[in-house]
Symmetry: C2
Subunit: 338 residues, 2 copies
Amino acid sequence: MPELRKDPVTGRWVIISTARAKRPNDFRAETVRPRASSPNCPFCLGNEDRTPPEILAYRSNGSGPNTDGWSVRVVPNKFPALGIEGELDRQGEGVFDKMNGIGAHEVIIETPEHDKTMSELSEKRIEDVLWAFRDRMLDLRKDTRFRYVLIFKNHGESAGASLEHTHSQLIALPIVPKRIREEVDGARQYYQFKERCIYCDILRQELDSKVRIIAENPDFVTLSPYAPRFPFETWILPKRHECFFENSPTHVYENMARALKSVLLKMDQVLEYPAFNLVLQSAPLQENTHDFFHWRLEYMPRLVKVAGFEWGSEFYINPVLPEDAAKHLREAEAAVPA
Amino acid sequence: MPELRKDPVTGRWVIISTARAKRPNDFRAETVRPRASSPNCPFCLGNEDRTPPEILAYRSNGSGPNTDGWSVRVVPNKFPALGIEGELDRQGEGVFDKMNGIGAHEVIIETPEHDKTMSELSEKRIEDVLWAFRDRMLDLRKDTRFRYVLIFKNHGESAGASLEHTHSQLIALPIVPKRIREEVDGARQYYQFKERCIYCDILRQELDSKVRIIAENPDFVTLSPYAPRFPFETWILPKRHECFFENSPTHVYENMARALKSVLLKMDQVLEYPAFNLVLQSAPLQENTHDFFHWRLEYMPRLVKVAGFEWGSEFYINPVLPEDAAKHLREAEAAVPA
């Protein structure tokens, strides 16, 4: 019998349809392995002039901006979805509303090496990427036009990556996106009723039952959420209550890099190098959500096609029980312990 | 300058990023053309025993059930996402909620001919498909366990179709999907404030400005919505206010078939036989939404990849202005007038 499960924060129901269940290696999805360096790749060492001038770079050898010698490099997106200059200029037009598309759209180049995937970077290098995320968020939140900064990663063509060289992206937005608004509203409602953070309650219940836990380290719990939209969707949740990713103490980034590398390796093993999206869900800027919002990192492998049913309903059919996904991932040997 | 536009019903903002704008034939998307009949296709004439026993079929020659001689045939999905037998059995588990996955999952085989796409069916045959949708909705709404019936079509592999032979699907659900709930809530709010249907107001404004109108016939307006999630997303809206698709008078189905065939032909011409999804947005069952909800048919070509940004935010980046999409489609010659 299929099961309907409700996401406790947003109230979204999903269909867990076990009759269509597959074993991990039954998904015929894209296998993503980087090819050797391409001379035209704008993210490769020595091609620094093929991107817009850099915003931030970590360099250990004292090299100058937009030259080689960097380990992580942040540049404006050459084809930005939003423009950085101007005012919002909110306007109505009869029943419709619009504003100028003001925002920032940046690319975080995670390594100068073209032939490495994120999972192949050392923990220290992944940690540097997280520090770059943090530095950019701290900088962008000073701009009062922005209400949200979304950091995400598209890995593989079916996950929307247009360039192969491993990178993440950041979009700063003048409004809070619908999904975050729903999470914040749901978490606030729960807090008003219970006076507790719902994510902290979820963590307690999950650590108690253990069936959806994938891994744990001093600062993070990696788990399959109870009502996931996608098969093998995975959350990395900080144990310590905090609404902003960028407000964490140093050891949190260190342990987050460990947890993330472990998840990436486990996924590569269980799902054979899948295409995936990573999304950092942090709190809206300029709002007080401290008591009830709890940041997290989401990993979503792209294993199934989204079709008319999902586009029409925003209801999702997930062919894999999260308990089964967690078991497969828990048992996968990761080269690095979480 | 990119533009942010707000959907007036749900409040969802989208980014219309014209800097990335493309001409219709710049999308390198799947081209979907059916191949000649395959002997193993369960939807082909003569293979009626390869599907579960039929629920409904239109036959003109007095042939018996599950034999040939049909023009439209409705069968249960062989791999249903939901089960038809049983009770909902709503349960809690700490902070989580679930219920049994009760529902109906049916396939509407639109023609016995394997080598025809929906756009190649005659208006009369498309009208028969719409009558089959209506017959099934009228039957399923008698089952008080169901709160919503979603009818959709996946055309082409990138739109989620697993079988090539042209067909639509129907899923009856024990809850109202999130997207419909948001539309109903948004439309209700507007009605409470204005005492008018928001879709009727949109229709009036769009017919007045004309910039997003694609076609019109006595019963329908075909238009590009103001804040579309996807490039070339198109709505077919009935002129007469009605919340339920299945409650329309006969001439509405006739004119809907004309409007739909016209859209399908225009899209095939402008976008070179794209993969697409169709979704019928009708009102929730067992609720009184008569005053403010207004049914419609949505056409969404699959031209762009959905990536981490969209999955993380439910915010969409659309590279085509709906005014430009409407112009291209308006000017496309359709073999049949709308």
